[in-house]
């Protein structure tokens, strides 16, 4: 048996690959659910009902999908350029922290303040990723290590800030930062639910990222540099500049995720506000085959698993950690599925 490279990855395979990966991941996780003594089909039905069964659950799921779209875009942008940004979680948190910090004391009208706070969150995320990107350019330091480890530093830093200078005195000892001013909260998209206009901002970001990647000189240079750095630099494309540009864009997107989550949902920052949005963004990007439109669909799927798993857990007693297992398995099965879109098996 040997693998033969395909001339073109056929379109139907590109669409089928993530679906097959999801089915395979659900099948494997189903084994664990069965081992816990529950019928997997029943469990998955509960999961679907929990995430999509009512108007409220759908809005809840989309609320959860919002930061996932943004962290998914962050990972997709970086991975396309072979910048292995595993630091989405950290960038999410600095974005959130800066937003809450400035948003607590900023005194400008709401419609002006919201964009300012979002830009601040984006800048924080961008700067946080600029450091590992620079270290890679200057000293060839592996960014997988630096971005991953920065996550822990950032979360500890957030913990320190919300225990100390940014502690919310009205939170009754609950470790949370001061909240952003009420004027800066994002308006609801659907009344009496948590779904806020941040979802539209995330969709717009997906559109913008698509435009940048597909239509701009920067996008074209990034693609060339990611696919063949030697040829790109021979053609006069500056690899350091491209890489820094990608790092800024990727970090800004993850920072925006944190900012939007604070403005739209939590108001204050806690160390538990993210169930791993940054890491799940990597899975989202992979399931999307790094395509911005796919990111939206994949984020909706992962949000369905996250939200649905809680309902499933309540109904069947299977621990809700199964959501993390499904998402992690999706990453592995997607990598395998991607191989089959690029190669064909010959006997």
């Amino acid at each position: 048996m040997r693998l033969e490279r395909r001339a073109h990855a056929p379109l139907h395979l590109i669409v089928i690959a993530p679906l097959a990966a999801i089915v395979a991941a659900l099948f494997l996780a189903g084994g664990l659910i069965a081992a816990a003594g529950v019928n997997p089909f029943g469990a998955y039905a509960e999961m679907l009902r929990g995430a999509l069964g009512s108007r409220l659950s759908v809005t809840e799921m989309l609320t959860r999908a919002t930061p996932l779209i943004l962290t998914g875009l962050a990972a997709a942008v970086a991975f396309r350029a072979r910048l292995w940004n595993i630091g989405g979680e950290g960038q999410f948190f600095v974005g959130a922290l800066i937003t809450a910090w400035i948003g607590h004391s900023l005194s400008v009208p709401g419609p002006l303040g919201i964009p300012i706070l979002m830009l601040a969150g984006m800048a924080a995320g961008a700067l946080l990723l600029a450091v590992p990107a620079y270290l890679r350019l200057r000293f060839s330091v592996d960014e997988v290590v630096t971005t991953l480890l920065l996550n822990f530093i950032v979360i500890l830093f957030v913990g320190m800030m919300i225990e100390g200078p940014l502690r919310d005195p009205l939170a009754f000892g609950w470790p949370s930062s001061v909240p952003v001013d009420g004027d800066f909260r994002l308006p609801d998209l659907v009344p009496r639910t948590r779904l806020h206009i941040g979802f539209l901002i995330a969709l717009a970001a997906a559109g913008a990222v698509w435009l940048i990647l597909a239509r701009t000189v920067f996008g074209a240079e990034t693609r060339a540099a990611g696919l063949n750095a030697t040829a790109a630099s021979f053609a006069g494309i500056s690899l350091p500049r491209t890489l820094m540009g990608v790092a800024m864009l990727s970090g800004a997107l993850a920072g925006l995720a944190g900012s939007v989550e604070v403005l739209g949902v939590t108001a204050g920052v806690t160390t538990t506000m993210s169930p791993g949005f940054g890491y799940a963004g990597i899975v989202v990007a992979m399931l999307a085959a790094l395509h911005p439109a796919g990111v939206v669909a994949a984020a909706v799927f992962v949000a369905t698993v996250f939200v649905g798993a809680d309902a499933m857990s309540r109904a069947t007693g299977v621990p809700s950690f199964i959501a993390d297992v499904v998402v992690a398995l999706c990453l592995l099965t997607m990598v395998v599925a991607l191989m089959f879109t690029t190669y064909r098996v010959r006997r």
Binding site: R215, A220, N228, S233
Partner: protein, 506 residues
């Protein structure tokens, strides 16, 4: 002659493409058969079928009269067929002996069998005149030595029929000559050989018989003694091919001038005290054995490396420090040595590669947005003008053949009317049709007044295209000689580093 090998009616299709169409072939005992054809003619497919890597859709393979089951390399090996691939299949971290034994001896007993293996290897090496050091690590061997190990590996498995796929593609000319002498000696020991090639001169020099494949079909078989290189070229390409001829004309003022340039890599000199001048309407050829600084000279003129000392000027302006983008802006066209690694991004479309160097020019983008329609129509023009076959603007570049990819790269740098062109091994690995096309384009650019620096390892090419020639040896350049006065002997001596070091006096 008793046929040791017979292929009969072999047909192999890949999707809609027929790679081999009813091909029949015989090989006699002790014969050297050259399988000649352009890239993509189906030579390698045919040999892969013979060797069992592919299963033929139709047809049979018989070795020593016995039919081989299809699709089983092991069966071919057991029947005494050995294959030496173009890209070696050796493990660099193992020794010669281990590599030779790997695959033919059970791995578990490798250690105990080693004594016997060593004796057998030395016996074979002696008998066929292929000296080796069994305990040397393969990673430390030269390319020619590695090829010898590949051949020994086949012989160790008692091959009596040996297939060599483009054996000289990786060899310098003296090594290639030595290889063919060795092959000739090996036939006296009872071996029969097929070698695959698209180089006419080596087919003429080394084979007894030639089989010509074109577009998957066997178009001719000739005794080598009864044919000529011209006839073979015509058979191979399917039409009369003539390499374009350089005609003398006025040479203008100097365009690109290097004075005492030194290029370093990690503090070590790669180019040392290099001086040359390329004039308007002139081709300056740089010849030399591979690995003598050609890569660094190419990198210097592409803008990828900067001079540690000395100056590089283009029309009087210093261009030593301006980088690849600066070079492109200054009107330098660059054909890189390795088109796959440097010339084009295989996964991008033809149009994206066509504009890659000039994405930021107003022709191709406005306010940071790519003008896709303009880019595609430019790519379509290049395809038309430079006869890039099998391409549309949206084709993925890696699907182009080597020759057509080279035409794309050449088109990209010639279409802007460059003042200076660097052509670094512009025809390496190309077939006869593509070579003449590339030569014609370079000479056309010369007629338009471009200054061209040609780096080549092919002497015929350098002599045919260049007005003047300098040799590069260990990072230093000889004095230029007029190409019309240069013969193979003189150039050979220059390439060996025999020239008068008189430029300090001059």
């Amino acid at each position: 002659m008793t046929p040791v090998l017979e292929l009969e009616g072999i047909t192999k299709r890949f999707g809609a493409m027929t790679a081999n169409d009813d091909v029949s072939l015989t090989l006699g005992q002790g014969e050297i058969l050259a399988l000649l054809g352009e890239n993509g003619a189906g030579k390698t497919t045919l040999m892969n079928i013979l060797f069992g890597h592919y299963a033929a859709d139709e047809g049979t393979v018989r070795v020593f009269g016995e039919e081989l089951p299809t699709g089983r390399p092991r069966a071919a090996i057991d029947a005494g067929v050995g294959m030496v691939h173009q890209h070696f299949t050796l493990a660099g971290n193992l020794t010669v002996l281990e590599n030779v034994m790997l695959g033919s001896e059970p791995l578990a007993s490798l250690r105990s069998a080693r004594g016997a293996g060593r004796r057998k290897l030395m016996q074979i090496a002696e008998r066929f005149g292929l000296p080796v050091t069994p305990d040397a690590r393969v990673s430390q061997l030269s390319v020619g030595e590695r090829q010898r190990v590949e051949i020994l590996k086949a012989l160790y498995r008692d091959a009596r029929v040996l297939i060599l796929d483009e054996p000289t593609a990786v060899l310098a000319r003296p090594e290639a000559q030595r290889l063919f002498e060795t092959l000739r000696d090996m036939t006296k020991e009872g071996l029969s050989l097929i070698f695959i090639s698209h180089k006419l001169h080596e087919v003429m020099a080394a084979s007894d018989r030639v089989a010509v494949l074109r577009a998957g079909q066997m178009v001719a078989e000739r005794k080598t003694a009864d044919t000529t290189a011209d006839e073979l070229a015509e058979l191979m390409v399917g039409r009369k091919v003539e390499r374009p001829v350089r005609r003398g004309h006025l040479i203008g003022s100097p365009v690109l001038v290097a004075e005492n340039v030194r290029v370093e890599d990690k503090g070590e000199a790669r180019l040392d005290d290099v001086s040359f001048a390329v004039h308007e309407g002139e081709v300056l050829g740089i010849v030399g054995v591979s690995g003598n600084g050609q890569a660094d000279l190419g990198a210097l003129l592409s803008g990828l490396k900067t001079p540690a000392s000395g100056t590089l000027t283009l029309a009087g302006q210093d261009v030593g420090q301006i980088g690849p983008r600066g070079m492109i802006r200054a009107g330098v066209g660059r054909v890189p040595e390795d088109r796959h690694a440097e010339g084009a991004v295989g996964e991008l479309s033809v149009w994206e590669n066509a504009v890659l160097e000039r994405l930021r020019s107003p022709d191709f983008s406005r306010r940071g947005f790519v003008r896709t329609a303009a880019c595609k129509s430019y790519a379509a023009e290049l395809i038309e003008r430079f006869d890039i076959r099998g391409a549309t603007p949206d084709t993925r570049t890696r699907l182009l053949s080597g020759g057509n990819m080279q035409k794309l790269i050449l088109g990209r740098c010639l279409s802007i009317g460059p003042r200076f062109v660097l052509a670094n091994q512009p025809t390496r690995g190309l077939d006869e049709g593509a070579i003449s096309a590339v030569h014609a384009e370079l000479l056309a650019a010369r007629s338009k007044g471009a200054a061209i620096l040609l780096i080549s390892e092919e002497l015929e090419e350098a002599v045919a295209l260049s007005d003047r020639i300098q040799a590069i040896v260990k990072g230093r350049l000889s004095q230029p000689v007029a190409a019309d006065d240069a013969d193979a002997r003189k150039l050979g001596l220059m390439m060996a580093g025999v020239w008068k070091e008189d430029h300090h006096a001059a």
